[in-house]
């Protein structure tokens, strides 16, 4: 192999462009080293190192947000750095920070190894950040599998709890199945694009740019069409769109609460990151993609909301509500094909969704008892009275998720609706509205449980009084996280300011 080739390839490996990912990876390694180096009693600082490190990386990324590599393709076409990609990197870093904070709270109650949780979270985060920028199926697959394998571990992390393990198993089987389907789809696309029998065949068929050009030249290939839908199926599993949503409530229920949050927020966002990339790659098959996504969106919104209506376990409830959010986001994705600002709308929606979800999951983490999987609406009785702070944060979070003004979630929905209207998706809009109305019922039911005085059976003498549901006091980092999520949800509802500018909405 001529050295020039190596040098040329190396020159294209713009490592500085993935400095955040590298740092995240190094941070994970640092944690592991610290675990070995530090004495047992000093190991409590490791989670703090993770959180502080993440915040540092976050700050650095914000500082270097408008770097010169944005808009470029690096690593021999494996990565493409775009504005959306930058946003998603920030998003995943923030999500990881939040999850780590919640992890500290949740793990305190479990006699589980602590450090591995953070290390795995960090690696998964790094993979997600790469996924958001991947421009090549190999990169996509590897990043995706890293995330998936990481989640297998995280979901079944509390191995003392059989429910957690069961959730892990279910996620494992479903995830592997979806990987298989995705992989088969990739194989078909690869074969079609590389075949010299086809028009404009390419020598680099896994590269998205090349694939896009190929698909434009062959807009009617059945093989490519099947490949596309199989890839979309794999992605639909990640975002939790019908009919690949069915695993969600079980896994969310069984997984430790911070992991559920991670799944709901980051994993979903990662799915949408791929979807956004792929939809533009599959541009030539627009009618197929739009039809598939539209049907998925309708089914997702209706099913998610319907199934959540009568749900009492809050983890399942939030999971199903997350399904419906995926439906709204799918509408945004469809709209983004024609309407440029819809991309910003999706980002805004994701951001608002993250804030709202952290508020809710944060409260859930504090309210949940020893059995993490058993979190019922009844556990929230009088929450607002006994823990006004948690109550207020929960109210804001749920309100934001429900899309009630003046909270950020409403602005997200509104922007998506605006985009959908501009794209002329009236039918989808109608479904979305029905979905929002349905969702009010269960979100409000939750608020009702936490805020409204409930009837209680009178306690007779001699009877044991009903034990108070276990609730933790809110520590400093978690308190900051919750307050930030709630306040930001409120603030973003009123004033989008820089974020709006950033996302191209202003």
């Amino acid at each position: 192999m001529p050295t020039e080739l190596l040098q040329q390839a190396a020159a294209d490996n713009h490592w500085a462009a993935i400095a955040p990912e590298l740092l995240v990876g190094c941070l994970a390694l640092l944690l592991l080293i610290l675990e070995i180096v530090l004495p047992k009693e000093r190991q409590e600082i490791i989670p703090s190192v993770a959180i502080v490190g993440l915040l540092g990386i976050l700050g650095g990324l914000i500082f270097n947000y408008h770097s010169d590599y944005v808009g470029q393709t690096t690593f021999n076409g494996l990565l493409h750095h775009s504005g959306t990609g930058q946003f998603l990197r920030l998003f995943f870093l923030m999500a990881a920070t939040g999850v780590s904070v919640l992890g500290v709270v949740a793990l305190k109650r479990q006699a589980m190894p602590k450090v591995e949780f953070f290390a795995i979270t960090l690696v998964v985060t790094g993979a997600m950040m790469l996924l958001g920028q991947s421009n090549h199926f190999v990169m996509l697959f590897v990043a995706l599998e890293t995330i998936t394998v990481g989640f297998y571990v995280l979901v079944s992390y509390t191995r003392t709890n059989p429910l957690s393990l069961e959730a892990g198993l279910k996620y494992l089987i479903m995830g592997a199945l979806s990987s298989g389907i995705l992989l088969f789809g990739i194989a078909l696309l690869y074969g079609a694009a590389g075949s010299q029998a086809m028009m404009a065949s390419t020598t680099d068929p896994m590269n998205f740019e090349a694939l896009r050009i190929f698909l434009y030249a062959n807009p009617n290939s059945p093989i490519a069409a099947v490949g596309i839908v199989l890839v979309l199926s794999g992605v639909a599993f990640k975002v939790g769109a019908v009919p690949f949503q069915i695993w969600i409530p079980d896994v969310y229920q069984g997984a430790p609460t911070p992991v559920s949050a991670f799944l709901a927020i980051a994993s979903k966002a990662a799915g949408f990151a791929i979807l956004l990339t792929l939809v533009s790659v599959f541009d030539a098959y627009q009618s197929l993609v739009v039809t598939v996504l539209s049907i998925m969106a309708i089914a997702t919104i209706i099913f998610g909301n319907m199934a959540a209506l009568t749900q009492h376990n809050v983890k399942r409830l939030i999971g199903l509500s997350g399904v419906s959010h995926a439906g709204y986001l799918l509408i945004g994705v469809i709209a983004a094909i024609h309407v440029p600002f819809a991309l910003g709308a999706i980002c805004f929606y994701l951001f608002a969704y993250m804030l709202g979800s952290f508020a809710v999951f944060g409260v859930m983490t504090h309210v949940s008892g020893a059995d993490d999987a058993d979190q019922d609406l009844d556990h929230y009785t009088d929450l607002a009275k006994t823990h006004p702070f948690l109550g207020a944060v929960l109210g804001v979070g749920l309100g934001s998720l429900a899309g009630i003004p003046p909270l950020a979630g409403f602005m997200g929905k509104l922007l998506i609706f605006l985009g959908a209207f501009e794209a002329g998706l009236y039918g989808l809009l109608a479904v979305a509205v029905v979905g929002v109305v349905l969702s009010i019922y269960y979100y409000f039911g939750w608020i009702k449980a936490a805020f409204f005085p409930q009837w209680r059976p009178p306690v007779f003498e001699g009877d044991d009084p009903v034990p108070e549901p276990p609730r933790q006091t809110v520590g400093m980092p978690a308190g900051i996280l919750l307050a930030t999520a709630a306040l930001a949800s409120v603030l973003l509802g009123f004033y989008q300011g820089p974020l709006g500018v950033w996302l191209g909405l202003s």
Binding site: L177, S178, P243, W247
Partner: protein
């Protein structure tokens, strides 16, 4: 100070009085009563000044505008208004004065006098109104003050019910009135009383609906059949209120309003009005016979007399010979207003007299428990006798002239109506004499009557004043016409006058027959003479009276309330229940179904994947 400002003062002084009482004098009843009385005195004085000052004027001010709709308020002060204003002022003052004595011991005096002031304000508003909207506004307001005053003894269920009934029945009338006004507005383009004659003279299409709908308002306020049911009940209010509102002024407002809109009348409408009036007159007179409550007798009498006036108005205009030439006069207006005037005096007198009796007998109202009061309360007895004779049409008293002008008009226009009105007149003298005789003659029938005594000066003075007016009120011109001067010639000139001795004889005959029958059938005593002597007639008349009340109660309890309950039931069951909850239930069922799909088995979940994969694959592969 010009006349407009004076009129404004007349209108606003009672309002100021009412406001001050409501805000500051709630607990200072005595001060409130004096303030209100002073206000009434000011009104009386300014009213007389305005009426006799000879100045007549129209002013109007825009009150607000929306697009092309402008509502203005203004005064139309002509002879008709002047006459009415004088009556309101004078009678109002008398009643205020009387109330000072009558209500002396009442705890809620302030509320009472405040109500009276509100009433004066509203009534003057009606009188001065220059357009129908404004008239409607004050029309409603008098209804409100009437409600307030009937409700004075509000802890009594009957008083509360009566007040409510009065207001609601009036609102039924106003329902028609308002529609009439709206029709008038869109039909003629204006509701201005000054502009309407011009529009009509300009050849505007006449409509029968408008006058009849407007008459609905009069039916409510002047208690014409079938909306008369509230008036007898309204006697639950304090007696001065009955005198002022439910005899002399407010109930007459309907007549006044009809006279105001005479220009809108068409023949068919007048016919209807005439018959309504006639029937009311006869019916109420018959009902009055069997009443034992002194105020109820007077109430039915009022109804009957109002029927008289309405009938008179309905009889319409008449061609008379005047100075050798034939002229058309609005005889209905003249006769009705004339009777309204005299009736205001003698009916106020009668009510105040009965108030004096009731006050004297410590709020005993049953005439069969009185008796022999002539000796105990001579002044009351005599002034009341004047009233009784005036209403019965004794020649040279005021009622004689006004009633005769109506009878004359009826004679000219419609024989049947004439017959009915004559019959009513006979019955009138019959029950009035009955009432007076049982109350004042014979032996006292109860402790209360035993201890009866004359009220103070504030109570007797109005009686005397009104008695004088009852005597002289009938002289519209000529040597004894000093009471009116020439100030109201615009109205008086429309009165039809009968000539010859026929009227005299007829009048005396009526009086003699009626009074004679009364003397024959009744003796002062504890029981109703008619009931013992002619039980069939008594029962028949009682049934006649009660039929309407029963009908009304039946309607309220069995029709209206049940219908409301039914609608409520339908809403709760059908709309809120079946449709809304049903819909929610169906959605919930779907929700349960969707939730039930999460069976927990991995296999089931894998099938979802299969389904999705096959569907998408098939779709992309063009299989369907």
């Amino acid at each position: 100070m010009d006349s407009t400002q004076l009129a404004l003062i007349t209108l606003l002084v009672p309002l100021v009085s009412a406001t001050v009482i409501a805000l500051f004098l709630r607990r200072a009843g005595a001060v409130a009563s004096y303030l209100s009385t002073v206000a009434a005195a000011v009104v009386a004085v300014t009213a007389v000044m305005l009426a006799y000052g000879g100045h007549r004027f129209d002013v109007s001010a825009e009150w607000f505008t929306f697009g092309e709709f402008t509502l203005s308020l203004g005064f139309k002060f002509d002879d008709l208004a002047a006459l009415m204003l004088t009556i309101v002022g004078v009678v109002g003052f008398c009643v205020h004065l009387f109330s000072l004595g009558y209500m002396h011991d009442d705890q809620d005096k302030a509320r009472f006098f405040g109500g009276l002031s509100v009433f004066m304000f509203s009534m003057i508003g009606i009188v001065l109104a220059d357009n129908l909207f404004m008239m409607f506004i004050f029309w409603e307001l008098v209804g409100f003050s009437s409600y307030l005053l009937i409700n004075h003894y509000c802890l009594k269920q009957s008083a509360a019910d009566a007040a409510k009934k009065a207001f609601i029945v009036n609102r039924v009338g106003d329902f028609g009135f308002l529609i009439g006004i709206l029709m008038c507005y869109w039909h003629y383009g204006t509701v201005d009383l000054n502009a309407l004659p011009d529009v009509i003279a300009g050849g505007a299409m006449m409509s029968i609906a408008i006058p009849l709908l407007l008459f609905c308002g009069a039916m409510g306020k002047s208690a014409q059949m079938p909306l008369h049911i509230w008036l007898p009940d309204a006697m639950e209010g304090p007696t001065p209120v009955s005198a002022l509102i439910h005899a002399a002024t407010m109930v007459a407002a309907g007549i006044y309003m009809l006279c105001r809109i005479e220009v809108l009348m068409v023949a068919d409408a007048l016919n209807v009005i005439m018959w309504v009036g006639t029937i009311t007159a006869v019916y109420a007179a018959l009902c009055a016979i069997v009443q034992s409550d002194i105020k109820k007798v007077l109430a039915y009498s009022t109804l009957s007399q109002l029927g008289y006036m309405v009938a008179a108005f309905g009889l319409g205009s008449l061609v008379v010979e005047h100075d050798g030439s034939e002229v058309l006069i609005a005889a209905g207006v003249g006769a009705a207003m004339f009777h309204l005037t005299t009736h205001a005096f003698f009916k106020a007198l009668l009510f105040l007299g009965s108030g004096s009796v009731i006050h004297g007998c410590h709020h005993e109202q049953n005439i069969f428990k009185m008796g022999g009061l002539l000796k105990k309360m001579p002044l009351t007895a005599i002034t009341m006798l004047i009233g009784v004779l005036a209403i019965s049409g004794l020649p040279f008293l005021s009622g004689f002239y006004s009633k005769d002008s109506i009878l004359h008009l009826a004679q000219e226009k419609n024989a049947i109506v004439f017959g009915l009105l004559v019959f009513t007149a006979v019955v009138t003298s019959f029950y009035m004499v009955r009432m007076w005789r049982i109350t004042f003659m014979g032996e006292t029938q109860s402790d209360a009557a035993e201890k009866a005594h004359e009220g103070g000066l504030s109570m007797t003075l109005p009686l005397v004043l009104l008695a004088v007016l009852s005597i002289f009120g009938g002289y519209t011109h000529g040597p004894l016409g000093f009471l009116y001067g020439h100030s109201f010639d615009g109205v008086w000139s429309q009165i039809p006058h009968a000539s010859g001795a026929g009227v005299f004889i007829m009048s005396i005959a009526i009086l003699v027959v009626g009074a004679g029958l009364a003397f024959a059938l009744y003796k002062p005593g504890p029981s109703d003479g008619l009931a013992t002597k002619m039980p069939a007639a008594f029962i028949g008349l009682t049934a006649l009276k009660e039929s309407f009340d029963k009908g009304y109660n039946y309607y309220v309890a069995k029709v209206q309330d049940r219908f409301a309950m039914l609608m409520n039931f339908l809403e709760q069951i059908l709309l809120a229940g079946l449709i809304i909850r049903g819909l929610a239930g169906i959605v919930g069922l779907f929700g349960l179904g969707a939730r039930a799909l999460h069976v927990g088995s991995l296999h089931a979940y894998v099938y979802w994947f299969l389904l999705g994969a096959v569907l998408l694959w098939g779709f992309a592969g063009g299989l369907f």
